[in-house]
Every structure is written in structure tokens, then in C-alpha cells.
């Protein structure tokens, strides 16, 4: 099947909002090349479970494609149209399984040495799309990212935050008392002042602490029953004769919250959390990988105004099967390794925050929990400097504001 063969009926298995979006824009979708369209449908099919920011950008993208003349469209998609696809891909049910199609397309591109051409086409397309339309209005509140690392580490003498220090002030006399509650208080205050859905997040790589319900919470420990249910399913899948990595991947992509007994009343967040475990690598076994990936996905998808991520000790490395399928009571922790993981994770949180609109006004804080070391990055603070000012977290946030 080719995009030009699409009919309204093709989308009958889509959820209501996704179906409406596809059918309303059928004419625009039919004009797109097959090397491109399933990638877009992968987003469309999830429309009912997308965060508001994602819906806005998808709406904007489709509206723009609809506005292009035939000639303009040919110009925009010339490079995609030159990608040679196989008959197998053309025969694939890419309307109903766009994510699986994209997996197979990726394999095809690598094998046929077309990956670089596709990659270039995708980058050019994204750059052109960003440049179209009126400039986005600034966010209603400058973004603030916070990373708390090193929980459970009493001493650490090697350098920390080396990648972030050049971008802000390195504080060495922070008053650590009540640091976590103070930071959560500040985050909650922002959420109450700007009560926008999914705009203020608290991600904990361990056991979450008391926090304001205005925050969107993702907690590694709270997801323990979900992880356990998923690992049981993975084990059954792995043990099935003749199965392999590709089949497991397909299986994981099809897992839904209901399959794992997840039903919090927030279908969007449920789907997001399950995807962290089914699409993330290492998120099922290492809490530090989970916290970093959850932050990355929250920033990429929900584009929050406030994000606090607290890294917690992960389990010590063991053989993969043992880590995946061991019972929780036997877990041996690695706090120092987790501090190093968290240090890099914080850097990635900052990079991912800087990819968002309004980055020039954003602030970021990373703190070694329970200790007097932190780096604060903010438009009002000098870069690459050191401060021995004694300040608690409240005072530090005030300096950053």
C-alpha cells in the first residue's frame, strides 16, 4: 500500500482523537512519501495519549504540510522521495503498525547504505519546519531544571559537575540542611503559580518523598509492580522457542498500561511511564538509567517549565539475566557508581532542557545531595566561576531567579 491509497477507513483502528486528526488531514497525508509518512503516523496514532505540547507541535506540523502547494511539497520531500524502499516495506501494514515499520525501515536504511541520506533529509526537514510560521511566544515562565545526585554517598573526593561548571557558578559552601524539601517547595510554588497540565515534574529514581500533588510525579519505586509485571512478560517472551530480539522489541512496543495492571486515572501519564520501561534501555534494571531517560523523555515530549530529578542508588552490576529477573530483596546497591551516573545524567538533563524553546532564559541547578557542592546556571549568573558563598537551597534559587 502507498500513501496515495489511503482512505478514511484506513484509520478505523485508531483511537478517536488520532482518527479524527488523520481523517481531517487525509489529503495532506496522501501526498507524503512512504519513507516519511509512517514516521509521522507513529506520532499520530498516539495522539490521544500525547502531552499538550506534543499535540500542539503535531497540529502545527500537519497544518503546515497542508498549506504547501504541490511544487512546494515536492521540494520539501525531494530527498525523502529518493530513498529506495523494498517491496516488503511497501507491503507492510504501516498504517496500523507505524512504529514497527519505522524499525524495519531503519534496518533497511542501514543495510542499503541509505542511512546517511535519510539522516540528512530528516535534519534538513526539521530545520525547515522550525523556521516556518510565526515565532513561538516565550514560555509563560522561564524553565527551571534541578538535578539532585549522590544520595547515600558520604564521601567523594573526585571532581564533580565538570561538564556543567563552565556554564555557571560552582558553589562549594552550600548549606545542605533541608535541601530536598526546600527544592520541592520551590518547585511546588511554581506549579501553583502557573497551574498548567504536565508543566511541573518531579522524577525520583528511588522512593519519592512528600511533595505537592500539583506536581506530575514519576517514581522508580512506585513503578516496582509495573516493572515486575513487565519483567514477567519479558521472561515468558524470551523463553518462547524460536523467539529473538526483534520479536521481543515488537512485543515490548505493543505492551499497554492495562497489560501491566496500570490504571491511575491519567491515561497519558500511564502510557508515558510504561513507555519509559518498554522503550528505554537499562531503565528496567538501573534506577539511574531510568531517572535520566525519564527526564529526557519528559523534556522532549512534555516540555515542562519545571523539572526536578532526584537520582537514587542503583543496583550493583551483575549478569544481565540476574539483574533483570532477580527478586528485589537481593539487590545490592552501588551509591558511588550511581553518583557518577547521576553527574552525567544531570549534564544530559541540562542539554535536553537547552533544546527547548526559550533556552536562553532557562536556569539549571545540580546539587550533590547532603553535601555543600552545587552548580547553578542561569542567565543572571556568571559562567565558569566559583563561589564560596554560604547559601541554602532557597537562597541559591533566589540568586538564580
Amino acid at each position: 500500500m502507498l500513501p496515495s491509497d489511503l482512505k478514511a477507513d484506513s484509520f478505523k483502528s485508531y483511537a478517536p482523537a488520532a482518527r479524527k486528526l488523520a481523517v481531517d488531514n487525509l489529503a495532506a497525508l496522501r501526498r507524503l512519501p512512504l519513507s516519511f509518512l509512517p514516521g509521522m503516523l507513529r506520532e499520530v496514532i498516539e495522539y490521544d495519549y500525547k502531552f499538550p505540547a506534543e499535540r500542539r507541535s503535531l497540529d502545527k506540523e500537519i497544518a503546515h504540510l497542508r498549506s504547501l502547494s504541490h511544487e512546494q511539497l515536492q521540494q520539501w520531500f525531494k530527498a525523502f522521495a529518493q530513498i529506495k524502499l523494498s517491496q516488503n516495506l511497501e507491503r507492510f501494514d504501516w498504517v496500523n503498525s507505524p512504529a514497527q515499520f519505522v524499525e524495519q525501515l531503519s534496518s533497511h536504511l542501514w543495510t542499503t547504505h541509505q542511512l546517511d541520506a535519510f539522516r540528512t533529509a530528516a535534519i534538513v526537514y526539521a530545520d525547515k519546519l522550525r523556521a516556518t510560521g510565526p515565532p513561538e511566544p516565550p514560555p509563560p515562565l522561564s524553565r527551571l531544571g534541578i538535578a539532585i545526585v549522590g544520595q547515600g554517598v558520604s564521601e567523594y573526593h573526585e571532581g564533580l559537575f565538570r561538564k556543567l561548571r563552565p556554564h555557571g557558578v560552582y558553589f562549594t559552601k552550600i548549606k545542605p540542611e533541608n535541601g530536598v524539601p526546600q527544592l520541592l517547595e520551590a518547585v511546588a510554588a511554581r506549579a501553583k503559580a502557573h497551574p498548567i497540565p504536565y508543566a511541573h515534574w518531579y522524577i525520583d529514581g528511588g522512593q519519592e518523598v512528600a511533595h505537592d500533588p500539583a506536581l506530575t510525579l514519576v517514581s522508580y519505586n512506585a513503578l516496582e509492580p509495573t516493572r515486575s509485571a513487565l519483567l514477567d512478560k519479558m521472561r515468558a517472551e524470551v523463553e518462547r522457542p524460536g523467539n529473538g530480539p526483534e520479536n521481543l522489541r515488537t512485543f515490548m512496543a505493543q505492551v499497554r498500561p492495562a497489560d501491566l495492571g496500570v490504571k491511575s486515572g491519567d491515561a497519558v501519564l500511564d502510557r508515558f511511564q510504561v513507555k519509559l520501561l518498554t522503550e528505554g534501555s537499562g531503565t528496567q534494571i538501573f534506577s539511574t538509567s531510568f531517572a535520566q531517560w525519564a527526564a529526557r523523555e519528559a523534556l522532549r515530549r512534555a516540555q515542562p517549565l519545571t523539572l526536578l530529578v532526584r537520582f537514587a542508588p542503583r543496583q550493583r552490576q551483575k549478569p544481565m539475566n540476574e539483574m533483570l529477573f532477580a527478586k528485589s530483596e537481593s539487590v545490592d546497591l552501588d551509591p558511588v557508581g550511581s553518583l557518577v551516573d547521576g553527574d552525567m545524567g544531570a549534564y544530559y538533563n541540562w542539554i535536553n532542557q537547552q533544546r527547548l524553546h526559550g533556552a536562553e532564559h532557562s536556569s539549571f541547578l545540580v546539587w550533590f545531595e547532603g553535601h555543600n557542592i552545587a552548580v547553578a546556571i542561569s542567565p543572571g549568573l556568571p559562567r565558569g566561576t566559583h563561589s564560596d558563598t554560604a547559601a541554602d537551597m532557597r537562597e541559591l534559587l533566589t540568586m538564580m531567579a
Partner: protein, 385 residues
């Protein structure tokens, strides 16, 4: 490192120049392009029959930030201080193939960008360097060995090519598989039995010319009890691989030995500290192999050792990836690696910036050992011949 708007070729070139600058300051190497070409091996005095080659793949891929860049050099002290000053270093080795570890290693070993399924137990399609070596030079099976990290690599020793293939390849030894067979995978050894990090739950079925447990005693002169007891003193699968490689060198002195390291690929699990641990361990093991060569009379003075990654990892700047964790984007950083050559016939402390392909290794080994690699797509590296 990456610049918006630059082409992949330009980014690879910038990467190479940056590596060269790092090396000039830290290891004091000279720029090779100022040196006149000479027939190195011709002048080395080592007769072809006596020449040996050891290849170590620095796997599964490490980035400059964690290795050659100033902030990464603390992770590779042995490469920087001990090995690079003795080596010819190539700053720009570009892998234009598929960035999966099995298929990329198969490409390195055939000199052709292979397209075999990365996750299946199938042989490369083109003749491997081991087949060229054995057929052209009429060498026995005991003269070419591969020590590989996981079940997925068990077919790397010989291709499915009609003119070569079964019976002409290298013997493949999978130390982890051997240990599992020797110990029934008791928990004391579990830390040495980690398999493929790209697909941690699946290990392809073994087939092909694989080393059997009972050959430990006959070929390596190692009792199962001694093997098990030594394994207990080791901390990772790559340490086990090096232990077996050294045993092979001592007992069989193969002329062509290929060791695939893999500990670094734990990065796929997303824990940065474990990735760094893997790099530091691999750095130490490379020196250990070099010292083993220097202290073995069968190898010292007549062996050329190559160290190179199969490919890199994604850059922090590419929004399509997740930094060090994977090698999925195909960006310049994940494709552009390096190679060092040292030992017999190699100039010491020299660096070359010109771009090489991953497929150039096989014809170069062919040039050193004196065999024809007619189906390889790469070109011999003249700076080493």
C-alpha cells in the same frame, strides 16, 4: 565537537584534527605526513614466514570525550603514556557500514561492509582475513584464532563464501561459553558470563568451528580445574578473553590472533560509571596484551599489533540519540574512530590524519603477512607497508 551545518566528512576531519592535537600535547607524537614513505617491513628484517599479527578491537566503542579528549585521558593512561608513543596512530578511521557490533566486526575481518543480521548466528558473506591467510599461505587451523566475547561472534572465523568458507577459517574460542560449560554457570563465575549488551536476553545458538571444552587440556594444556580457579581471580569477560588469548599465545603461538573486547558496551544499559569502568579495564588489558607480546620469544620483535574500535558512540549533541548510551544515530562521532599500530615494521610516535576506512585493515594485514585479499574492498595502508 559537532558543528551545526557541517557535513559528516567535515565533522570527521575536525574530529581527526582534534585527536591529533590531543595526542601532540599529551603523548608528544609527530605529524606523519611530514615523513617520507619507506618500505617499512622490507627494512624490518623480519622474514614473512615469521611475521605475526595481533588485532584487538577496543569494543564496543568509546567516544573521544571519555578517551582522547583532555577530560577523558585519565581513563586511558596506558594507551596515552605507554602505547601511543610506541605506535603509528591514525586519527580518522571511518566506518561506513552498519553500526552493530557483530556485523561491524565482521566488516573489519572481511574488509567489506557486511550486511549480515547483527543478531543472528550467521557467517560473514565475504572471505575473512583468516581464510585469505590460511589458503594463500597454506597455514594450519592452529595458526589463526579468534577470541570473541559472546555467542553472537561464534561464526566470525569463516565466511559463507563459495571459494573459501568451511575448513579454511580461524578457530573461534568463546571464553564465556567455555567457562559456562566448565562450571554449569555457578554464581561464583556469573560476573564473567555477561553476554551481548545490545540484546542482553538473547544469545544465538552455537554452531560452526567452535572450540570445545575438552580441548582446553589438549590444546591449551589447561585443566578445567585450573581454568575455573583462575577465572575466579578475574573481574570481567574481557579479562577472561585476555587470559585465554595469552594461553593461546603460549601454547600455540598463532601467527594471526584476533581478540574482540566488549566490556565497554555495558554503556547500552545507560550507567555512565560502568561504561567508564569498561574503558579503563580495556585500556589496561591492551597494555597487558602488548607486554605479553614483548615477553614471549615467539612474538617479540616480529609481531605487529593493531588496536582499533569497531566504531564509536553517539554524540551528546545529537538529539536523535542519548549520548554515550548507544550507537544508533549514524552521526560522525559514532562512525569516526581511530587505529593504532605498533611493533614490527611500524614507526613509533607518528600520527596520520588522512581518512582511512574500517575496511582497510584486512588488505593491510595481507600486505604485512604476504597474502592476497582480492575480495576486500578496502585499500592497504601504505604508511604501514
Amino acid at each position: 565537537m559537532t558543528c551545526k551545518g557541517s557535513s559528516p566528512q567535515e565533522l570527521a576531519r575536525q574530529l581527526a584534527f582534534t585527536r591529533r592535537d590531543f595526542l601532540r600535547t599529551s603523548a608528544g607524537v609527530a605529524l606523519g605526513s611530514t615523513l617520507l614513505p619507506t618500505r617499512l617491513f622490507g627494512r624490518s628484517g623480519v622474514p614473512e614466514r615469521k611475521r605475526k599479527v595481533v588485532v584487538i578491537t577496543f569494543g564496543g566503542g568509546a567516544r573521544d570525550q571519555e578517551t582522547f579528549a583532555p577530560e577523558g585521558q585519565e581513563n586511558i593512561p596506558h594507551l596515552i603514556k605507554d602505547l601511543i608513543p610506541q605506535s603509528t596512530f591514525f586519527t580518522q578511521v571511518v566506518n561506513r557500514g552498519i553500526l552493530g557490533h557483530y556485523v561491524a566486526t565482521a566488516s573489519l575481518a572481511t574488509g567489506v561492509y557486511e550486511t549480515v543480521n547483527n543478531f543472528a548466528s550467521i557467517p560473514p558473506e565475504y572471505p575473512t582475513v583468516f581464510e585469505y591467510f590460511r589458503r594463500d599461505l597454506k597455514r594450519p587451523a592452529s595458526d589463526a584464532w579468534v577470541v570473541a566475547p559472546s555467542n553472537g561472534f561464534n561464526r566470525i572465523g569463516e565466511s559463507s563464501h563459495r571459494a573459501y568458507g568451511p575448513g579454511l577459517g580461524a578457530r573461534v574460542i568463546l571464553p564465556k561459553h567455555l567457562l559456562a560449560a566448565a562450571t554449569s554457570a555457578g554464581t561464583d563465575y556469573a560476573h564473567l558470563l555477561r553476554d551481548n549488551y545490545e540484546t542482553p536476553l538473547y544469545a544465538p545458538e552455537l554452531s560452526g568451528n567452535e572450540f570445545e571444552l575438552q580441548q582446553l587440556g589438549t590444546l591449551l594444556k589447561l585443566s578445567v580445574a585450573d581454568f575455573k580457579s583462575h577465572a575466579l581471580t578475574l573481574s570481567s569477560p574481557d579479562e577472561l578473553s585476555v587470559y585465554i588469548a595469552r594461553r593461546l599465545m603460549r601454547q600455540l603461538s598463532p601467527s594471526l590472533l584476533w581478540i574482540t573486547m566488549h566490556d565497554i558496551d555495558i554503556a547500552h544499559a545507560g550507567a555512565f560509571s560502568l561504561y567508564i569502568d569498561g574503558i579503563r579495564r580495556t585500556d589496561r588489558l591492551c597494555l597487558e596484551m602488548w607486554n605479553a607480546i614483548q615477553s614471549d620469544p615467539e612474538y617479540a620483535g616480529n609481531t605487529t599489533m593493531f588496536i582499533l574500535p569497531d566504531f564509536g558512540r553517539d554524540s551528546d549533541e545529537d538529539a536523535g540519540g542519548n549520548g554515550f548510551q548507544h550507537h544508533r544515530t549514524g552521526d560522525a562521532l559514532s562512525r569516526t574512530t581511530w587505529m593504532m599500530a605498533m611493533g614490527a615494521g611500524v614507526r613509533e610516535g607518528v600520527v596520520f590524519d588522512r581518512p582511512l576506512g574500517s575496511t582497510d585493515l584486512v588488505p593491510t594485514i595481507g600486505g604485512i603477512l604476504g597474502f592476497n585479499t582480492s575480495l576486500a574492498q578496502g585499500k592497504p595502508i601504505t604508511e604501514l607497508l
